[in-house]
Symmetry: C2
Subunit: 485 residues, 2 copies
């Protein structure tokens, strides 16, 4: 018994919505893996492995992905503008190209100091640069006033759900499996998550009939379904929606007056198929059918954390709004202003991401080489991991499609399921915990993302270098199956 | 009439708690001032002023405060670690000192890449460095496990209030006038703000009897008062609490079992009196009275945005917890993990702030000169502004005490109050709006911070350089008084 007298707060009287929120990506397993990492760093030798592999989270630069040189050279000048007094040294001795210096000067002229708060929605010139990018990408105009810089996409999701959710009856359609930020944010807001299931048999495709059914069922229970989340390409599935599927989703959103939240942070992590933005398809529909789609509200999100940029630690991102009422936008502006502004150096990184060196620019050759190197590396690792899963008993995994993850289904023997129950755990959690203890490899159980009743999965990134950790998963799996068979 | 068909969201069905939240620091006046700034940038000449002075927000580097060289040199190396391959160039041609290089290497060895997510509560070595600083500052031990890095102090306040607020009946004592983040965050959480008034006649001192009365009144109305916010030094008032006052507050918190939230972001911006931390006083009380104060829960917040650092755009900060239940801390950890982590470059800046060059270090001389230069500069500007206010009819202002603000009381003629009413505005809002239109100087009306019924104030930073803008306020005030007398 503890001798410390009780304070005011305890687990039973804190905010119940915080208590209810779950976030497995950084949950018990991740915490345990950090403890192992600290143990190894202290020189402890009583663990059956010598390194911890954090395959639980898409964090490329924690593993061995190098940042893109152009980006970081510009950022170094933004952090220390005094270096710009030594252009000759930068150019002749430190390998900086003229376009690096030019871009840094331009960003400083627009942001002032990166140590100053920007406008609440971001530096105006950076918003304009994003609008220009969106116009190039989609072939339709974009307006800087509809763009909001955010601290990673997570903070954008938090903002949008804060506005959308009126009360406990507000329902938001969320794909299952999903990135658990959505369910966690809805739990915090005490709103209703309306799950719709992706179709594993169709390589995790988005099935509009499943969405319609989920929506209709929720409505009969009195839920005010008013938004739909689409993660495209999918997390944890990697699946990209075809243009036809996006049209179906937008059509359904129009019929049901659903706000569409398109999480497009993996838009450049595509191995199979092609990324098509929701914005482009919506504008196409509006052009083809004058008037018919004008009321559709779309918010699309992007981030510097994913893609070949992989700059998670910089917490940069943005969202673009289409079709939102100006008075609602004013509320969004006020909401973001309460937390002042997104990190300004992260805003600058967003600008670099959307406006990288172009062919002919002095930094282009290196940029292009680094960018393609990262892309090909990720693809190779994805396939190597997939081939390993193909050989594992009871494991099934579709070919890698995109994002940074594989999400295999795993069949676990009945004895293992019983053993899990005895520990009060989901069977896939039990599996992942034993894997961590045996190998130091940290995954996330499928139950952390949601899955159809009776199926089990795990999510792993394919970011870690080398093949040793893959071999250790294969070996563990064999032992596990033999033990519980 | 607009021809756009209505979407799903409108001002009447978005989250009502967002609608209710107010944040005057970046409200209508600030938005209008940005419009003026854009007009001037476009070359428009129809405004009666040639520059906009943003005295509405403590944003030193937007005005002319230069960042501290040591900080930014280290950050430039963290952003581009390839520069560390050229130590000779850094040392001999670019003015970097050996301790800059050493610190950058150390931070990189601890954080890995600044482009990688850190642990949810921050880089462990940075938490340890903060704990070491707190121990040096207070003379009592601090534990890195009780420290949470945050995106500025604002994000820390958001986290803490999220945990504390169980429902609409949860009450939090907030000083009036206050930094409106507190009332805004409580509105978003649909909790109850319990205002207590600071004593203007005692230079905005904290009067424990006023706190007691506010708390007792709220309890009789069924409010579950469970926390008290103290801003020390005060914002917008600048007042520092004496150790005796802090003891009284902690004593009351002990009696009433209130969680103490000590917003100490202005701890180095002190001209009058001395900053004493709540942590130090709490630990002293615990030492003097074994057992008696053990259950007191304290959260204290700090930021890189204020002080002589002034790095608002980097969104760095931290909070330390004392006396919190481990299970409550686990909920806090989960909450911060949903947004992944604070910006890592901002975390590194926190480390530099708490562990700056020491006497004898190669960078110390310049650091010390810059630090003192900023301090003295702020003090001079504060006094210059205060002397101007002293001469203005109907304006009363205590001597500058600290923080970055003056908060004078202003007596406005009855005719002006009527004119304000006719516009549906608070009289001080009306005054500030007319000032902005006439001079380009953007202030925040006292009503944005809260004030005693029947009194009127405005808040201005004393960050802007030069005296011209001060003169323009004096001139405007004279005209305003003459017009409405």
């Amino acid at each position: 018994m503890s001798s410390t007298p009780a304070g005011r707060l305890n687990i039973n009287n804190v905010n119940p919505h915080v208590r209810e929120a779950k976030y497995a990506v950084r949950g018990e397993l991740a915490v345990k893996s950090e403890e192992y990492r600290a143990k190894l760093a202290r020189g402890d030798t009583d663990l059956p492995f010598t390194q911890v592999i954090s395959a639980n989270i898409g964090n490329p630069q924690q593993l061995d992905q190098k940042p893109i040189t152009f980006f970081r050279q510009v950022l170094s000048l933004l952090e220390n503008p005094l270096l710009l007094q030594h252009e000759d040294v930068l150019l002749n001795q430190l390998g900086y190209k003229p376009d690096v210096i030019e871009r840094a000067k331009w960003l400083l002229s627009k942001a002032g100091s990166v140590g100053a708060y920007s406008a609440s929605n971001g530096v105006p010139a950076i918003r304009q640069s994003i609008a220009d990018f969106l116009e190039r990408r989609d072939g339709f105009p974009a307006n800087e006033a509809d763009i909001y810089l955010s601290g990673g996409a997570s903070s954008g999701v938090n903002t949008l759900l804060h506005i959308i959710c009126e009360g406990p009856k507000t329902g938001v359609l969320v794909p299952i499996p999903q990135y658990p930020l959505y369910t966690a944010a809805l739990a915090l807001l005490n709103a209703t998550c309306v799950p719709y299931y992706l179709d594993e048999s169709q390589n995790w495709g988005t099935d509009v009939s499943a969405i319609k059914k989920a929506c209709a069922d929720a409505k009969t229970q009195g839920v005010d379904v008013r938004a739909i989340v689409i993660i495209n390409p999918g997390n944890p599935t990697g699946a990209s929606l075809s243009e036809a599927d996006i049209r179906s989703v937008l059509d359904f959103a129009r019929e049901e007056k659903l706000v569409v939240m398109a999480d497009e942070v993996y838009q450049t992590n595509v191995f199979v198929g092609k990324f098509v933005s929701f914005k482009k398809v919506l504008r196409s529909l509006q052009k083809e059918n004058p008037g018919k789609y004008d009321a559709v509200e779309l918010a699309s999100l992007q981030s510097v954390s994913k893609g070949m940029v992989g700059e998670c630690g910089h917490r940069g991102g943005y969202f673009e709004l289409v079709g939102f009422d100006p008075k609602v936008q004013a509320e969004i502006y006020k909401f973001v202003s309460i937390t002042l502004c997104a990190p300004v150096i992260g805003q600058c990184l967003v600008e670099l991401m959307v406006n990288p060196p172009k062919p002919g620019d002095p930094s282009y050759e290196l940029y292009n080489k680094e960018y393609n190197g990262i892309f090909n590396n990720l693809k190779e690792r994805a396939y190597a991991l997939w081939r390993a899963f193909e050989k594992m008993e009871g494991v099934e995994c579709g070919k890698p499609q995109g994002s940074m993850y594989l999400f295999p289904t795993v069949k676990i023997p009945a004895k293992a399921i019983e053993a899990a129950k005895a520990e009060g755990r989901e069977p896939d959690e039990f599996y992942c915990l034993r894997l961590l203890e045996a190998t130091g490899v940290c995954l996330v159980a499928g139950s952390g993302f949601g899955q159809k009743e009776g199926t089990l999965h795990f999510r792993t990134t394919f970011l870690a270098p080398g093949t040793e950790w893959v071999g250790s998963i294969v070996k563990f799996h064999e032992d596990f199956m033999n033990k519980y068979r």
